[in-house]
């Protein structure tokens, strides 16, 4: 733990007793800064359903960044159909009808080995708190705005705080990482292409890929060969409670 720094608790928690996951942010660990974002519609090929490969965004960060994609409407979609490398994000999958996708690229390399320390793992009691807290508006936005999207951070909401991240450099079929958070944490998993090193997709939530989370460890297993490289993020937020 550093001697100096900043920590801000979420509304309703005393900053002196709030547990790590009850904070809004802390200079002890990073958040996920959004570098770029957008919505895109992926249409089937002319003539009917088929494979589509389409660029979504050129980020040119020079490294493979953390990203997130979700379907907002339209046909079936698997996050494993979106890929990222050190210059762009793209779609490659089977499209039968239009798919609307929301995407975000974060200013954080996927391949980052990082482990934060636990400072306080004991939850404080939530109380009714009328404190104003800290609001930091985004560039060009008024801090008196009532639209929470106009803010970079706010102490009355949760921010996704990164507890740990890492990556493999030798392909594996399964991997266990120790986190010692004392709860089952939320996670992101990314899988490297077996054919094109440097191309990453979100760890496919499929029948041959399983994740086990405990209070101390996160384990994932891919039963279908070949073995892959992975990158992961573990957040200071739980999988089994309201956080």
């Amino acid at each position: 733990m550093s001697i100096s720094g900043v920590k801000v608790s979420r509304i309703g928690y005393d900053v002196n007793t709030a547990s790590d996951k009850q904070l809004a942010f802390s200079s002890e660990w990073p958040l996920l800064p959004i570098e770029a974002e957008g919505d895109i519609t992926i249409s089937p090929p002319v003539g009917g359903p088929g494979m589509v490969t389409q660029d979504i965004f050129t980020h040119n960060l020079g490294y493979e960044p953390v990203f997130y994609v979700q379907r907002t409407d339209g046909g079936n979609f698997w996050p494993g159909w979106c890929w990222i490398n050190n210059s762009k994000l793209w779609f490659s999958g089977y499209v039968s009808t239009d798919i609307n996708i929301k995407w975000k690229i974060f200013r954080r390399p996927l391949k980052t080995n990082y482990t934060s320390v636990n400072i306080n793992t004991t939850d404080a009691t939530h109380v009714i708190d009328k404190d104003y807290g800290i609001y930091i508006s985004r560039p060009g936005k008024d801090v008196s705005s009532t639209d929470k999207r106009d803010f970079c951070i706010r102490s009355d909401v949760r921010q996704l705080m990164i507890a740990q991240s890492g990556y493999t450099t030798t392909p594996v079929s399964q991997k266990t990482v120790t986190h010692n958070l004392g709860y089952r944490p939320m996670f992101f998993l990314f899988m490297e292409s077996d054919g094109t090193p440097g191309d990453y997709t979100m760890g496919t939530s499929a029948s041959d890929f399983y994740v086990t989370a405990t209070d101390t460890q996160l384990t994932w297993i891919l039963y279908t060969p070949p073995e892959r490289n992975y990158a992961y993020l573990i957040f200071r937020d739980t999988l089994t409670t309201n956080g």
Partner: protein, 157 residues
């Protein structure tokens, strides 16, 4: 949309331990006012265990609905917890998965969510491509089994 960050914004910057805030890159900051961050309101995050109905028909069986009323389609994160284990259905090691999660290949049966401008709907989607009809309780069937869902509705769209 596209790039939304403003790297040279200097209103508020907190560097991570070991970095000089004056010199820190965005990657070396705990908070940088030139960036937006995922934000989640406390009442739009939760965990709930549900039992799947004894009959699962083709279509979308909604198991949990969360009202957000943002008026736009926000980002969401949804995880499933497999509580009633069934090696014929999920495999022996399935525990927590991020949605969408398909567990029969080809993907005719999967856990997924739909997002609207007012609601997050989490459930089970079934495409009866092979004429198998309704799912009923038994080994290898999701019907009647218990699962848990963790969800986060972000402020961000």
């Amino acid at each position: 949309m596209g790039k939304t960050s403003v790297e040279n914004d200097k209103m508020f910057k907190v560097s991570l331990a070991g970095y000089d805030a004056q010199e820190a890159t965005p990657e070396q900051c705990a908070v940088h006012s030139g960036f937006d961050y995922p934000k989640i309101e406390e009442h739009l995050e939760g965990y709930e265990e549900v039992t799947i109905p004894n009959t699962v028909s083709a279509g979308f069986t909604i198991l949990k609905t969360v009202n957000h009323n943002y008026g736009y389609k926000p980002n969401v994160l949804v995880y499933i917890r497999i509580i009633d284990k069934d090696s014929a259905l999920y495999g022996t090691d399935a525990d927590f998965m991020m949605l969408p999660y398909f567990f029969i290949d080809p993907a005719i049966l999967w856990y997924d969510y739909d997002i609207t401008t007012t609601q997050l709907k989490i459930g089970l989607k079934y495409e009866d491509l092979f004429g198998g009809g309704d799912w009923t309780p038994g080994p290898g069937s999701p019907a009647g089994k218990k699962v848990g869902f963790k969800w986060q509705v972000w402020v961000n769209d």
